[in-house]
Amino acid sequence: MGEVIVVTSGKGGVGKTTTTANLGTGLAMEGKKVVLIDTDIGLRNLDVVMGLENRIVYNLVDVIENNCRIKQALIKDKRHQNLFLLPSAQTKDKTAVSPEQMKKLADELRNEYDYIIMDCPAGIEQGFQNAIAGADRALVVTTPEVSAVRDADRIIGLLEANEITKTHLIVNRLRSDMVKEGNMMSSDDVVDILGIDLIGIVPDDEHIITSTNNGEPLVGSDCLAGQAYMNICKRVMGEDVPYLNLDVKEGFFQKLSAIFKK
């Protein structure tokens, strides 16, 4: 029986879609059968982040409206045989789908896949209600910024109100150099404010930009973000993985200036 995970944040632009893509890809690399569902109807993006935008024929709304079978709408990933994407519709709006229909869809997929991951739209309106309808657990993504953390708190409250109690936090785009200087809240600060358990810290890494450009999630690669995402996947699967040392390998000039400081 598969697990339904919703990736949500409240605030837009904190990395929900990137997290969904990397989480799904990482779980597939670990041999799990995974479906990613883009629930942001009218503003689809997960397909481009996954590099599958040219394969879309049917979408989530087509499945809900019975224009096609689920199997026809699922797009197989380029690199992983056991990873599938159900893209969102670009031409409809969020009212085209109801929470009951989403729950039914999730329950159908549960029989055949290990993980069903919902990429939630920003905001707390119907799109959010649709995305969380069938979820067993939630991953709340935030960045160490006041606006993102405040919205994350609101989301955590709404998840509780909807009886989703298995909720974990991902702190995204952390810059350990700024944390050290006292110019950015640390992941501990964020956990302290939000009061839920941490499941991952992802450093601010420019490789994320290039991987998104190419439509190839970087989970499992050597860079820090790649390792961090892989660790999140393993923790989602229940493994106990120690946290990475996120101190960025110093560049040549930083090393040089460090020597002079001595």
């Binding site: 040219n54 394969r55 670009q90 031409t91 190419n214 439509g215």
Partner: protein, 224 residues
């Protein structure tokens, strides 16, 4: 006594049951009488026809259809062969007939189609503007884009395999003609920039979609 001419109606066609004993000249009169008297009942609609009970030559079939046209308002669009799957044949034949007609008429659309917008038309369509990534043009006939095609086009959406797509700058996400889908090749973003604008045509041949520069030879092969 058995009637020499019987009209059986189905959903999208009629079956004309003819007496095979009657001399042909008499039969023609009987057909004229029958359709003349049934005019009101048959109405002004388009139907496919099939013949039963009597072998007719092609000329005779044509002649009978013209008699029908003279005597009532029925519009016989085609003849189907009498077989057990008549009903399916009738509707398919009529649909194709209209698809071909629609494909050969067209309309214009001026403006840029952006992500999320869908232009869905019954006829062929000429877009004066660009079709951006995420936008979609669906036509039962042909699609001509006087601009850049970066989005998705479905031509011959009801199954017309002769439908084609032309764009001044052909760089589509996806093209579907009849039931065949072609998608853009997977290449890293940095290579996509090398694309140079060129007028191209996409057409269907042997279950494959080909995209070629629009030259004289290709143009001569276009079937309308």
């Amino acid at each position: 006594m058995k009637e020499s001419v019987v009209i059986k109606g189905t959903k999208s066609g009629i079956i004309l049951v003819l007496d095979d004993k009657l001399p042909y000249e008499q039969l023609k009169e009987a057909v004229a009488d029958k359709f003349h008297s049934s005019d009101e009942f048959l109405g002004n609609v388009s139907k496919a026809i099939s013949f039963q009970g009597r072998e007719l030559t092609d000329e005779q079939q044509e002649e009978i259809i013209s008699i029908i046209h003279e005597n009532c308002h029925l519009n016989i669009v085609c003849i189907t062969i009498d077989d057990p799957e008549k009903e399916a044949d009738f509707s398919r034949a009529i649909e194709n007939k209209y698809a071909v007609q629609d494909a050969n008429t067209g309309q214009f659309f001026k403006g840029t189609l952006r992500s999320g917008q869908v232009l869905d038309v019954e006829t062929s369509i000429i877009v004066i503007g660009d079709v951006k990534v995420g936008a979609k043009v669906v036509s039962k006939g042909n699609v001509i884009i006087l601009g850049t095609l970066e989005g998705t086009v479905y031509a011959g959406s009801t199954g017309n395999t002769n439908a084609f797509v032309i764009a001044l700058d052909m760089n589509p996400m996806q093209i579907k003609i009849a039931d065949v889908i072609a998608r853009a090749p997977d290449k890293p973003a940095r290579l996509k920039k090398r694309h140079k604008p060129e007028t191209k045509i996409a057409f269907l041949e042997d279950e494959n979609i080909y995209i070629e520069p629009l030259d004289k030879d290709v143009m001569n092969d276009i079937k309308l």
